[in-house]
Amino acid sequence: MLTSVVHVCLAGLSTGMFIWLVASGLTLIFGVLGVLNFAHGSFYMLGAYFCYTLLRVMGNNFWLGLLLGPLCVCVVGYLIERYFLRYVYHLALPYQLLLTFAFVLIFDDLVKIVWGPGSIGSPSVAGLAGSVPILGRNFPVYNIFIMVVGPLVALGMWAMLERTWWGRIIRASSSDREMASAIGVKVPALFTAVFVFGTWLGAVGGGLAAPYVGLLTPGMGESIIIDAFVVVVIGGLGSLKGAFLGALIIGLLSSFGTRYIPTFDMFLTFILMAAVLLWKPEGFFGEAK
């Protein structure tokens, strides 16, 4: 009984941290740029594929792949922001959503063309491959690694936003674009930087996800993006703290739900999402905008 509960808990926590890694960039981009980026799932997918290719090229060095792969995706993110997204900030919500949606379609097919339509098995990471027994049941080391990385990313982002000059500028620009540009902040360049950073987070999420899921497939971003959306929404759109907590809640809910409620389904997570939107749309921490 104890083994069961502990392991269900651990599975939930690792799932939650995994979703958080993807949702972090999504919520940052929304918080600052006000754009809900469908293509974030594509960055996740591209991150996974680039990391995989570089890892293969560099003699199976996972860390080198993880370092360089997301940088390639950052170039893609830069081009998208600089030459497309920038021109729709002032437009209504549907244009922004559909623009990013168009990129989802394009990247899904491009990945299929470049890397082939079949799924690719992802190699496990040297040094993090095995499992450790916890209360008589094995738990993968890699999941423990994800459970450490998740909070570190959260802490890093928090420190950057709250404790650095850059963070203050970003926060200032997201709450009042005109005022920020009036005091000399180059808002367009700042937005590009934030978007590229968000892209990087999504791509790192993808690079880390490949060994976690064990597999790369064209269209792999679509299954994660809705989970990430839910997390971003229940955390209060644009709130990092909220998204972190939201990811933990969704992770635990799906783990406990799957284990203890036989009829469990995504239905419950969407009820939770609707309930939060109705009663506390600003999220758990009430960072109303």
Partner: protein, 325 residues
């Protein structure tokens, strides 16, 4: 003079539809039927989206509810097509009323996310209530029984016969939506998009108007769904998925968002374009994405916007088309 012109064109269009029904090939009829069903879905959707500016990601659910309501009535109670369609509409009405009641409390992205959540709940229900909905297999074997009208009955089993039933609902929908748009109610809705504060100051119950627009568009989605169930003789759980809810948005965008004919023309282009793309490549997503990109970056008014711009250049300035472009 202009009015006469418009009326003439309407009559010509109708004549064209009838001629197509009489002489078109089976595949042309099938595509035309799908275009009309998508048009009904998109034009209804545009009452909410184009008029009040609310972006819903959940209208696929009402499409599906219409289809399943129609199919369940047909399979278990009575296969009379009109009765089944009415059953589908009633179910879509109930669902859109309940879901709309919650959703119209918000606007903008919060509204979009709320509709996404409710839409996915419906999707999940359809997927899991297997005894009722058939799960992922959907409901199959929906028959196109003849329409019994007391003294005589109209067969709709064949493609060209069914085509005319859809033409009937298509024309009816256009007429109803036209009347709604030009009624005082429609004018209030347009006012909501332009300035919702002003509507509130005028003492009008903003939420009720939004809800009404939501329900009307939901019922049209249900009509499209029930017609599609008859067309394909099955129901598809994926029609409730959010990706299907994005279709009327795409269609409106291609045609032109804030125009009456935009969704209609958008539907023609959407179906036709995809058919053409699929003829020369299996990577249709790539091409479709590129075209979408082009429209958003270059032709934001959609086809109707571009056309009216050209029109304006040819005919000189025209206040009405300026408003639309």
């Amino acid at each position: 003079m202009r009015k006469a012109f418009v009326i003439t064109l309407c009559i010509l269009s109708l004549a064209g539809l009838i001629l197509l029904g009489l002489y078109g090939t089976r595949f042309a009829l099938y595509l035309a039927t799908r275009i009309m069903i998508l048009s009904i879905f998109a034009m209804g959707y545009n009452i909410l989206f184009g008029k009040t500016g609310l972006l819903s990601f959940g209208h696929g659910a009402f499409y599906a509810v219409g289809a399943y309501g129609m199919a369940l009535f047909s399979l278990h109670i009575n296969p009379h097509p009109l009765a089944c369609i009415v059953a589908g509409l009633c179910l879509a009405f109930i669902f859109s009323l309940i879901i709309g009641f919650f959703c119209v409390r918000h606007t903008e992205i919060y509204f979009a996310m709320l509709t996404l959540a409710f839409g996915m709940m419906v999707f999940s229900l359809i997927w899991n209530l297997r005894d009722i909905t058939g799960g992922d297999d959907g409901l199959v074997g929906i028959s196109r029984a003849p329409i019994e009208l007391g003294l005589f009955s109209i067969p709709i089993a064949k493609a060209n016969q069914f085509y005319f039933l859809v033409v009937f609902f298509f024309v009816l929908s256009i007429a109803v939506i036209y009347v709604i748009n030009n009624s005082p109610f429609g004018l209030v809705l347009s006012g909501i998009r332009e300035n919702d504060r002003r509507i509130e100051f005028a003492g009008l119950p903003l939420r009720k108007f939004r809800l009404a627009a939501f329900v009307i568009s939901g019922v049209f989605a249900g009509l499209a769904g029930s017609l599609s169930a008859l067309l394909e003789s099955n129901t598809d759980p994926f029609s409730a998925h959010w990706s299907h809810s994005a279709e009327p948005i795409l269609v409106s965008l291609i045609g032109g968002i804030q125009t009456f004919t935009g969704p209609l023309i958008g539907s023609v282009i959407f179906v036709w374009l995809r058919e053409i793309i699929e003829r020369f490549t299996q990577n249709w997503m790539l091409w479709f994405g590129l075209i979408l990109l082009l429209i958003i970056m270059g032709f934001r008014g959609g086809v109707v916007g571009v056309l009216s711009r050209i029109h304006r250049i040819i005919l000189g300035s025209d206040t009405q088309s300026q408003r639309i472009a």
